[in-house]
């Protein structure tokens, strides 16, 4: 015979276990894991919701060094002058996971961002602007790395 109190207690225990294992996916939902797990450019773009082949565009600017002495810290800046840009995306083609970062463009911020990335080896770096209609516009630049950032 189980009392009401015992039943309630079991309910709380189960809820607590679920919360502990992350089965309540509050924050996991927001993060686009598929895109960040993608191993190449095409897969990453598809997971981000871009349609069609990306086009080279002068309206997207990528600022990156020609030679990075230390692959663990490569300064990258991305900017765009296209209208109706929804996302700006940084990708390093030869990294184990291509996608580095996505920046959401809102009316309150300029479509211009800068950060630093790790690069495992010399590779093409892509700056991609995804517009409201799902088209992807890119700028790319080859960055030579003299010391990799992914080794031990």
């Amino acid at each position: 015979m189980q009392t009401r109190r015992q039943t309630l207690r079991q309910g709380f225990v189960v809820a607590g276990l679920l919360a502990g294992t992350g089965l309540f996916p509050q924050y996991a939902l927001a993060f686009n894991k598929a895109a960040f797990d993608a191993k190449n450019l095409g897969d990453a773009l598809k997971a981000l919701g871009a349609s069609g082949a990306p086009q080279a565009s002068d309206a997207v600017t990528l600022t990156a060094p020609d030679i990075a002495e230390n692959g663990a810290v490569v300064p990258l800046a991305i900017a765009s002058t296209l209208p109706d840009v929804k996302q700006l995306v940084l990708l390093v083609e030869k990294n184990p996971n291509t996608l580095v970062a996505t920046f959401k463009v809102t009316p309150d911020v300029e479509p211009s961002f800068a950060t630093r990335t790790k690069m495992g080896e010399s590779s093409d770096v892509y700056a991609i602007a995804i517009t409201g209609d799902g088209k992807a516009h890119f700028a790319k630049k080859e960055v030579k790395v003299t010391l990799g950032g992914c080794g031990g």
Partner: protein, 103 residues
């Protein structure tokens, strides 16, 4: 608990440039430790920023962003005295928020 972020926000005309330096290991999940075990990934996934309590900016990061990440963005319509707060959340669910005043 992670160390505080360093945030600088400087107004230029009707917009403000915000520079943030976060303190985070940003482990890539590719590295191996001395015994040959892969060190699990541990990185910031989401960064959001708000101006006077209203969210204005968000981004998502993979493990390829450098250790102790740097981030720069420009907020429109911000003036001296406004409050900028920045929040990050990592893949272990840890989070930290810091605030700065636009100067």
């Amino acid at each position: 608990m992670a160390d505080p972020m360093r945030i600088r926000a400087q107004a230029q005309g009707d917009k403000a440039t915000v520079r943030v330096l976060m303190s985070h290991e940003m482990e890539s999940g590719q590295r191996k430790d001395a015994s040959g075990q892969i060190v699990p990934a541990w990185h910031i996934q989401e960064v959001t920023a708000s101006l006077n309590g209203k969210e204005v900016f968000s981004c998502e990061w993979g493990p390829a962003v450098s250790k102790n990440p740097f981030l720069q963005f420009v907020v429109k319509g911000a003036k001296a005295g406004d409050k900028i707060s920045v929040t990050w959340k990592d893949n272990r669910g840890e989070t930290r928020t810091d605030q700065a005043t636009v100067s």
